[in-house]
């Protein structure tokens, strides 16, 4: 019995905030101002959603965010496969150096790099462009490392057999080995996609207008100054922002859990 009460409490702590977000988004402004803690809206309305959808170019934000996150995830995997393959399977001069270099960049987070990367991108006129959002994250040292680890488990004989059949190295990497790594790649892809879809820091730094603005940024901007806090609007925007993440989560929970544990233990 005590255990059950505890479970209910845990569920409440983690689910009530979402519920409150939904309820708030259905309240009209007067209720927000005069009865902010009333549990249920007296006169539920979808006005807040109408306002968010009507005033923000949400389609544009959605597109920007999706293209950015998809491109980053795809680019990271596309580039990590050959690099991981070379490091896992091939003998060559300078291998230890290359490997050390890649691993050492794990220590340089985006928050340290952003000052000079920003001035660099400004020099290249890439501020406020999708390319500017994507390129700095084009390579994931962690992804390269994990793919290398996964590839060490693939027997050499398989690769040699393909070579004897006349397969090119590109074919071996993308057509033979990549399918073998599907679980790792799915996990990497999901992890990278979600973390960049949610990213606030870099788009905040790099975007200056609607052109490349992403969804989390736009929703955070809903806390507009000048007319008092309009929480119903902010919460409606927040529902729009978090629903896709929760949907992806519901659909791919298994893969995501794998992604976290996999990332956790370095493959």
């Amino acid at each position: 019995m005590k255990r059950r009460a505890l479970l209910v409490l845990v569920a409440l702590v983690w689910l009530f905030p979402y519920l409150w977000m939904g309820l708030t988004s259905l309240k009209p402004l007067d209720e927000i101002i005069h009865a902010p803690t009333a549990l249920l809206p007296q006169h539920p309305t979808l006005d807040a959603y109408r306002e968010v959808l009507g005033t923000l170019p949400l389609a544009r934000y959605f597109l920007n965010t999706s293209v950015m996150a998809l491109s980053i995830a795809a680019l990271q995997i596309a580039l990590a496969l050959p690099a991981g393959y070379a490091l896992a399977k091939l003998r060559f001069r300078g291998k230890r150096w290359a490997f050390a270099l890649i691993v050492s960049t794990l220590l340089i987070p985006a928050q340290v790099r952003f000052v000079p990367v920003f001035s660099m991108l400004a020099g290249a006129h890439l501020v406020n462009t999708l390319s500017g959002l994507i390129l700095p994250f084009g390579v994931s040292a962690l992804g390269t490392f994990m793919i290398r680890q996964a590839l060490t488990n693939v027997p050499d004989s398989q690769i040699e057999a393909a070579r004897i059949d006349g397969a090119s190295e590109l074919y071996i990497i993308y057509r033979l080995l990549a399918p073998l790594l599907t679980p790792t790649l799915v996990a990497l892809f999901l992890f990278s996609f979600i973390s960049h879809w949610n990213d606030y820091f870099w788009p905040l730094v790099l975007t200056t207008d609607e052109h490349a603005r992403t969804l989390p940024l736009a929703i955070a901007l809903l806390r507009e100054q000048g007319t008092g806090v309009r929480w119903h609007i902010v919460m409606a925007g927040n529902v729009i922002l978090s629903l896709p993440a929760l949907a992806v989560f519901a659909a791919a929970q298994r893969h995501l859990l794998r992604a976290v544990t996999l990332r956790g233990f370095g493959g």
Binding site: L6, L7, V10, A11, P17, Y18, W20, M21, P36, T37, L79, P82, A83, A86, L87, L90, R91, F92, A98, L101, I102, T105, L107, I108, Q111, V112, R113, V115, P116, V117, S119, M120, L135, P136, V139, E160, E169, I194, W197, N198, Y200, F201, L204, P216, I219, A220, R223, V234, M235, N238, L241, A245, L246, F249, Q253, L256, L257, V260, T261, G264
Partner: protein
């Protein structure tokens, strides 16, 4: 294996190394260089030697930022680990309810920081927030000003972060619990060991590497807290939530002091490096043990 052509490994690595050079190593070099200049992006840069570092040290800003970051991160790490471990023990069983609650806790880890920050900004609103409403109903009087009191704000923000990342600790601990052999636990139970004793003598020692791992990864991650501070408190009140990344951001974008921002970022990098080094050493010693 021997590459088919001698040049193969090099072109395979070229894109990766190129990216890493352009977006990681070169920026790090630039950062160090810029930290010796005074520059506002708009007018000419001026060489100031160690002036930026000195100014940061003398104003006490560096120390203050470091202490704030360290105490908030420690709270986040300890809180999320305790909650994660407790929940893992509670939820490590089959059944739809346990799975549902595991999902609920983990979902917060998947939702963006911005969502969570906006949500809790509203929940924690000093007067209109539902939490204050509950407080007033239960305790009467005025509810604490969670985000407005410099003594409370860092812990409120840390608490929100705990809510957000407990799912991570939970998942890792759950997978760590898979490594605790059921047979050992059953044997202990047959020997008449109480649940507490079983946890202390069997589960906990076997979870040690997992614990260490969660602790260090989440410490390094929480040193990089930014979104939640930017959205909820903008580093205030009275700079009480100004963590490293926010301080660098503020220096650069709000105050346009590129040099001082760079100097602060260099220090931040060194701190992270030290933390990672400590993590590495801890792992080595725990593996040796």
């Amino acid at each position: 294996m021997k590459p088919s052509r001698r040049t193969d490994p090099y072109w395979m690595l070229l894109p990766t190394l190129l990216f890493l050079f352009v977006f990681f190593l070169y920026p790090l070099g630039m950062l160090i260089k810029q930290s010796f200049f005074s520059w506002d992006l708009l007018t000419d840069a001026r060489y100031v030697g160690l002036g930026n570092y000195r100014a940061l040290l003398r104003s006490g800003e560096l120390w203050h930022t470091f202490v704030t970051t360290l105490s908030m991160s420690s709270a986040v790490v300890l809180g999320s680990m305790a909650a994660g471990l407790g929940l893992a023990l509670l939820l490590d069983r089959p059944g739809r309810w346990a799975a549902f609650i595991r999902g609920a806790v983990f979902s917060a880890y998947v939702v963006s920081w911005v969502s969570v920050a906006l949500l809790f900004l509203w929940l924690l609103d000093a007067d209109s927030g539902i939490l204050s409403g509950i407080w007033r109903a239960l305790c009467g009087g005025r509810a604490p000003n969670w985000l407005g009191d410099p003594k409370l704000a860092p812990w409120a923000v840390a608490g929100v972060s705990v809510w957000k990342i407990t799912g991570y600790a939970l998942v890792i601990f759950l997978s760590g619990l898979q490594d605790v052999p059921a047979s050992v636990l059953e044997a202990a139970e047959l020997d008449g060991a109480s649940p507490v004793a079983r946890f202390r003598n069997v589960t906990w020692p076997l979870l040690r590497p997992t614990t260490l791992f969660v602790a260090t990864t989440s410490l390094i991650a929480s040193f990089q807290l930014f979104d939640v501070v930017r959205v909820m408190t903008q580093g205030g009140p009275v700079r009480s939530t100004t963590v490293f990344v926010y301080a660098v951001y503020e220096q650069l974008f709000l105050d346009l002091r590129v040099g001082r921002a760079s100097a602060e970022a260099v220090v931040f990098f060194l701190v992270l490096l030290a933390l990672t080094g400590a993590q590495f050493l801890l792992f080595r010693s725990s593996e040796a043990a």
